[in-house]
Every structure is written in structure tokens, then in C-alpha cells.
């Protein structure tokens, strides 16, 4: 069996007709890809839920309940962050899922949410971190080396977890590591942020920056379990923005050049077209071709990403998939830091893993 998920959104108006065995596979794939809520929402929005056989329908309906709950919790969590940061009086930008949610953008529908990502001006980091700390978020990271890794080299401080609710917030000062080949000045993004209605000091990135961030994130993070989900977010964003702003494509391409993010945008557009049939308007085809990296990079990355963007599930496993994911993971690290920093870092991490100073936390115990 193959990837059953992406065809659902490649022809969104066509009702998927799955056999029971295919439903089993597609539920498993969507569970792994974090897309079951979206699959369920897609069926509800088209009025197809009654056509789904009774047993798989139970799980789609369960996913809708889970989505409702997570959306309710996310709204509450954004309120809590807003309250915690009010005394500091600095603007903060919601990123990724939280931004789609707060700005009521299409990827919000049926989306499952995890950690919350926010971005603030670099010089406000300390104030923001202290304010969050006072409100109950504490850093998960106890190790001094890891703390330094984040603070010196990364685009975010170590994740902070709320002591009571267990919710996690990642505080960024830009969208890519300063040590990376694709480093982006946080300041350049902050110049164009857009206010969220009804919440003072709460912002999201400008539409084109949001798309570029999503593209960079997808191809730089190196973990592809949720890759298809992220690509689908991107697909929704592109369709939404192009229908609201005739100048969207021109702005997007010129912004990619300005921020030097041509390569991730190229890869993103390539796979949007391949998986969901999303086309760049003919007028911009030429400009998009100028984004392309050299041919050998294109071929290699197209091949690797094609494997990595498949749902991770036994029903659609292919040979070489694991290798592709691993190579992309290695690549993501190579992009993040120059070799002179990366090699000592990896050696250090390997040492820390081999000889931990404290007992690492176990996986969840297999108990009912």
C-alpha cells in the first residue's frame, strides 16, 4: 500500500473511497503524521462523514474531540502567555501552529497542537524569560553545556515547561540559528509583523515571512515525522494568501531573495506541486526558476525529501526511507552550524549520551 494521505488533499473535492483495509492503513498513517484531526475535519467540511464506514468513523470522530480539546487548551495557553508577558510590555510574535490558530488561518482547521513557539526581540529575551519564569514556566534543560548550546548558538532558548500544566513554550529571537548558512536577522522579520485582533502586543509574522518560515522549518529541522503535516500547512497558507493578495507571489519571491531563503522556498514549492498539485502562477514561473540551487542539489534533495515526506507507517514503508531520513537529519545539522562548531558539539553530545551524569528519564512505562 502507498501513501494514502497526500492524495486526499491533492484532489480535495474528490471523496476518498477507501476499503476497510485501506481505512486501517490511512488511520495509522494519519496518526503517525499528526493528521488525523485534519483528515476528520476534511470529511466533515465536505459532508462525507456519513459515507465513512462505522468503525473507522469512530476514530475520526475521536480525533475531532481531541482537536476541540486541544484548541480549547491552546486558546487558554495563549491567554496565559499574554497575561504573563503583559507586565513586561514588549510585543511578542506567535509562530507556526499557534500563529495559524490566533490569526484564524486555514491550517488551524482540524490541526493538533503541541508546544507553543513565540519570538521576541533578542534584547528582550531575558525580560521575557524572567516574566515567564515568574508565571510558572521553568527550563527543562538542567545541563550547563546544553544551556550554553542554545543560548550561544541557537535561535531559541531552551524549552520552558509550565510546572502545573506541563505545557511547553519555545522562545525564539529569530527563525534560524545565527550559526546557520541560512541565518535570518530577527529584526528583519519584526519590521513586518502583523497584529492579532483583540490581543494587545500579540503579533504573527507577515504572510510571506510566515510561508518562508514554514519552508525553512520543514527543511531545516531534520525531523520528518510531521513533515507531511507541515507541508500541508504550507499548502493551505499559499492558497489562502494568494487568494487574498494579488501581489503575494511577487512579494514572496522577492522576500526569499532578500532573506537568502531561495533554496528552502524552491524545495517547498517543488513538493507542493508534486504532492498537492499546487502551481505557481505562469507569470512567476521564470522568477521561481531563479530560486533553484544547482542541479545536483535539486536532484538529490528531491529524492531524499520524496522519501522523507511519506507518512512513517508500515503500510507504506519503502526501502531507503530510513537512510533518506538519516541523511536529511545529518544535513540539518550541517546547515545549522559550521563544521568547526558542529564536530566538537557532536563529539560532546555523543560523550554525554554514553556517560550520562544522571540517569536519563525512561520512556513511559507500559502500564495501563
Amino acid at each position: 500500500m502507498s501513501d494514502l494521505l497526500s492524495p486526499v488533499w491533492a484532489q480535495p473535492e474528490l471523496r476518498p473511497e477507501f476499503s476497510l483495509a485501506q481505512w486501517e492503513a490511512v488511520l495509522g498513517q494519519s496518526r503517525q503524521a499528526g493528521l488525523m484531526g485534519r483528515l476528520a475535519r476534511h470529511h466533515v467540511d465536505h459532508g462525507w462523514m456519513t459515507e465513512v464506514p462505522a468503525k473507522p468513523r469512530l476514530y475520526l470522530e475521536g480525533a475531532l474531540r481531541q482537536v476541540d480539546r486541544l484548541h480549547h487548551e491552546l486558546r487558554w495557553e495563549i491567554d496565559c502567555i499574554h497575561r504573563a508577558l503583559a507586565p513586561v510590555g514588549v510585543p511578542f510574535v506567535l509562530l507556526k501552529g499557534a500563529a495559524y490558530f490566533a490569526a484564524d488561518l486555514p491550517p488551524k482547521r482540524g490541526r493538533l497542537f503541541g508546544d507553543i513557539d513565540i519570538m521576541v526581540r533578542r534584547e528582550h529575551l531575558q525580560q521575557v524569560e524572567s516574566a515567564l519564569f515568574r508565571a510558572g514556566w521553568i527550563s527543562d534543560e538542567r545541563d550547563a553545556y546544553n544551556q550554553r548550546y542554545y543560548r550561544e548558538w541557537m535561535h531559541e532558548i531552551p524549552p520552558m515547561r509550565h510546572v502545573q500544566r506541563g505545557t511547553v513554550i519555545d522562545v525564539h529571537h529569530t527563525i534560524t540559528p545565527p550559526t546557520s548558512q541560512m541565518c535570518v536577522e530577527g529584526e528583519a522579520l519584526l519590521e513586518h509583523i502583523v497584529a492579532v485582533d483583540a490581543l494587545q502586543d500579540v503579533y504573527v509574522l507577515a504572510p510571506v515571512d510566515m510561508v518562508l518560515h514554514s519552508a525553512v522549518h520543514l527543511f531545516q529541522e531534520g525531523e520528518f515525522e510531521r513533515g507531511l503535516r507541515d507541508l500541508l500547512d504550507l499548502n493551505d497558507l499559499v492558497h489562502h494568501f494568494e487568494s487574498h493578495d494579488p501581489d503575494f507571489w511577487r512579494q514572496l519571491i522577492s522576500r526569499a531573495h532578500a532573506l537568502k531563503l531561495q533554496t528552502p522556498l524552491h524545495h517547498a514549492l517543488f513538493h507542493l506541486k508534486r504532492l498537492f498539485g499546487t502551481h505557481v502562477p505562469p507569470a512567476f514561473q521564470g522568477a521561481v526558476e531563479l530560486l533553484r540551487p544547482p542541479w545536483w542539489q535539486r536532484r538529490l534533495m528531491a529524492m531524499l525529501l520524496e522519501a522523507a515526506l511519506r507518512p512513517v507507517h508500515p503500510s507504506c514503508r519503502q526501502t531507503g526511507e530510513g537512510l533518506a531520513r538519516w541523511l536529511l537529519y545529518v544535513r540539518s545539522h550541517a546547515l545549522r552550524m559550521p563544521m568547526t562548531l558542529l564536530v566538537p558539539h557532536l563529539v560532546r553530545k555523543a560523550w554525554m549520551q554514553r556517560f550520562p551524569t544522571k540517569k536519563p528519564e525512561d520512556h513511559p512505562a507500559a502500564e495501563a
Partner: protein, 262 residues
């Protein structure tokens, strides 16, 4: 041995959860062999020694249900049926819930589930699960003595819960796996060494709070979960029950069945 009486699913039936058990590769193939549980291509649990395979399978199936079945409200409780009425036995580990459940299953009560009470969101009835009853440590000897006829599989030692075995569900009960039941009693059992059996009424509000705390997806289900649970508690008599001997428990519950109006 434990599952011999269960019907097999047809090839084209929908399967809710597919889990796999595999031996680990590499050196572990020969030395200190381990078993890895696979679910949807992921390995949600740490590998365990090979002889823990069966309890791991049972725990993993429970894990699948408790984390993914959101079409039912799932309580951490045993549940049994008699005359179409169900008794829910919620209790923290160590309270003797499983022992009590195994004891009652061998005497006129029909097992609906020993770990997970699944409540239908549409009508609050119990959806039967009817899988083997997990027993551990001292309770194994207690059950062997109380009901010498029951079938227990090989004991697995040194698990995270100690020595574990599973008790086969009687064949006539397996045949009735499709029959649900309306909850009629909620009984919070507590094993107290040498204590006489005492059944005390417990307030419904307090029982509901405790059941909510013992549920896996009560928060996730939000208002629906609240309403289902409130309905269930409303239709039940709630009790605290402390006991030391299974014979006493059986007698007390026999009387409870007779004295409870339909």
C-alpha cells in the same frame, strides 16, 4: 491458552489496533534477548526481556485503547455484570481490585473488563472488553486457593509490577462479548488485612470526582465526558467497601444484588 475461545476476525474485518512483538536485533539476538513492541511503525515502549512478551502485549493493548479510543469514556476500573446490571470497581493499584475482579468472575459475575471500563458516549452503557485478568504477586496464590479451577498462564517474574500472570476468562463469558450492561453500582474496594467486610454508602458527588480522576480521557472529552459520567453516577448506588477475604466480598455483593431494586 488464554485466547483459545475467542472468535477470530475475518480477513476483511476492520482492525482497531495492530501491534507487533519482535525480537531485538544485533547482539541482543543471542545475548539477553529482548522483545520490542511495535505499533504503527513506532516503538512506544522500552524493550523488555524476552519472557516479558506476553504481559507487554496485554499492557500495550490497554495503552492503545486508553490513548486512542475517544469514542468511549475510559475509566481505570474493573467492571463486572450480573443480571444485566454492571458494577464498576475503580481503585488505585494495590487496593485489590484485580484480585476481587478475578474472584467475582469465578463466582456468578460476568467479566466486562479488569482494567479499563469503557462507557459508551451515546448511552452510558459499558462496552465489554473481556480480556484475561492481570494478576500479580500475592494475589496469584489467593486466586489459586479461592478458585482452583481457573486457568492461569505462566508467571512472568521481575516485571515492573512484580510477578505477573493472566487468568483466562471462562468460555461461557467469552461467548457473550457483545453484551454490554447498564452501570448500577460503583464500589470503591479496599483490601484491609484481617478486616471484616464493610459496605458504606458514599456520596455521589464525591464518587463522581474520584471517577473523573481515574479516567483516561475525561478531560479530553470535555462536556460530553462530564455528562456521560454524571448520568452514570446518577444511575448508580455508590459505596466504599473494605474487606480482607474474597468469600466475604462474594457474600456481600450477592446480598447487594438481591437488595438493589431494578
Amino acid at each position: 491458552m488464554l485466547y483459545a475461545d475467542y472468535p477470530l476476525a475475518a480477513d476483511d474485518d476492520f482492525v482497531d489496533f495492530t501491534v507487533t512483538l519482535q525480537c531485538s536485533g544485533g547482539l541482543r539476538r543471542w545475548w539477553r534477548r529482548q522483545v520490542i513492541l511495535g505499533y504503527d511503525g513506532a516503538n512506544p515502549f522500552v524493550p523488555l526481556p524476552l519472557d516479558h512478551a506476553f504481559p507487554l502485549l496485554e499492557w500495550a493493548m490497554n495503552w492503545c485503547i486508553s490513548t486512542q479510543a475517544h469514542h468511549v469514556l475510559t475509566l481505570h476500573a474493573a467492571v463486572l455484570e450480573r443480571g444485566g446490571r454492571a458494577m464498576i470497581l475503580p481503585a488505585p493499584p494495590g487496593s485489590g481490585k484485580s484480585t476481587l475482579c478475578a474472584g467475582l468472575t469465578s463466582r456468578d459475575w460476568r467479566l466486562l473488563s479488569d482494567e479499563l471500563t469503557l462507557l459508551s458516549l451515546s448511552d452510558g452503557s459499558v462496552v465489554p472488553l473481556g480480556r484475561p485478568i492481570s494478576l500479580k504477586n500475592e494475589s496469584l496464590a489467593v486466586i489459586r486457593q479461592f478458585a482452583p479451577d481457573v486457568v492461569l498462564n505462566d508467571v512472568t517474574h521481575d516485571t515492573s509490577k512484580g510477578s505477573v500472570s493472566h487468568m483466562k476468562v471462562p468460555s461461557d463469558q467469552v461467548r457473550r462479548l457483545d453484551e454490554g450492561a447498564r452501570p448500577r453500582w460503583v464500589v470503591f474496594p479496599k483490601y484491609v488485612p484481617d478486616a471484616p467486610p464493610t459496605l458504606r454508602p458514599r456520596s455521589k458527588a464525591e464518587s463522581m470526582l474520584e471517577l473523573g480522576r481515574n479516567a483516561f480521557n475525561y478531560t479530553l472529552l470535555g462536556l460530553t465526558g462530564f455528562e456521560v459520567l454524571a448520568d452514570v453516577v446518577d444511575g448508580c448506588d455508590c459505596y466504599d467497601f473494605s474487606y480482607s477475604r474474597l468469600e466475604d466480598a462474594v457474600a456481600v455483593f450477592d446480598r447487594l444484588v438481591v437488595e438493589t431494586p431494578p
